[in-house]
């Protein structure tokens, strides 16, 4: 199971900047191991986020995204104490959701 995401959500006026660090190999499927065998593709395909349970972000990713991905987006109308939850799902169907409180 992947490590928890690091989510920071800082409100400044009406805008809240959300920064997320995820733990994931983001394997492209083009690399080979030392034995010459192709390392299978394994990468996050879908990312979504909710603000107090309401969906605010939906994204599709490909294997060009770096290992241990970073993402930043800006939510409107959030305030300190609100909950931001981020979910990712990868090409193997594995998924993870983590939550943070807006500061």
């Amino acid at each position: 199971m992947a490590d928890p995401m690091r989510i920071r959500a800082q409100a400044q006026g009406d805008k809240t900047t959300v920064r997320v660090l995820m733990q994931h190999e983001m394997e492209t499927g083009q690399r080979r191991d030392s034995a010459g065998k192709t390392i299978p593709a394994w990468y996050i395909q879908e990312v979504s986020a909710t603000l107090n349970g309401k969906k605010v972000l939906a994204a599709e990713w490909g294997p060009s995204i770096s290992k241990n991905p970073f993402m930043q987006f800006v939510v409107k109308g959030a305030k300190a104490g609100d909950k931001i939850a981020v979910t990712w799902k990868d090409n193997k169907g594995e998924t993870r959701t983590d939550e943070a409180t807006v500061t």
Partner: protein, 152 residues
């Protein structure tokens, strides 16, 4: 302790079994736009999302460093001030996987996203905006990639 490789192999087999048995959520997997992510050019990516021929626009911005010390992690951003944008995308022209990411723009968030991409070599990076009437606008920037040295 199971190695990661063994774990991957097991979960792949499991996923294949589940998929074959129709137990994996079809909707979740169908949402990912495979043709777009397999497209080899900006024009093809735009087409895969139902967009028209891409046009360069000052109202779309792509941000990133002039030069990346290591192509494994390059922080890039896409933003637009255009109205009626439903999607913002980041493309790395010379990557085997050209389309790196696609973000849905909704009224709840700014049309401004930052992420980190892998770049196989020096290349143009595109920020592409798709409007609700399927027009496609882009901005591009060259990011040079150099391997670092032996230390550090």
């Amino acid at each position: 302790m199971t190695t990661r490789r063994e774990m991957l192999a097991t979960s792949t087999r499991l996923a294949a079994l589940l998929a074959g048995a129709g137990l994996l959520p079809a909707t979740a997997l169908a949402a990912w736009n495979q043709p777009a992510f397999e497209a080899k050019s900006l024009a093809d990516v735009a087409k895969a999302f139902g967009g028209s021929a891409p046009v360069e626009s000052k109202d779309v911005t792509v941000s990133g460093p002039e030069i990346a010390e290591n192509g494994a992690v390059v922080q890039v951003g896409c933003a637009t001030t255009l109205a009626n944008v439903k999607q913002l995308m980041l493309l790395v022209e010379k990557n085997p996987n050209v389309l790196a990411a696609s973000f849905e723009v909704s009224p709840a968030i700014d049309a401004n996203f930052t992420t980190r991409v892998k770049m196989g070599q020096s290349s143009d990076v595109y920020a592409v905006a798709l409007t609700t009437d399927n027009k496609v606008f882009f901005a591009k920037k060259e990011i040079k990639v150099t391997l670092g040295g032996c230390g550090g």
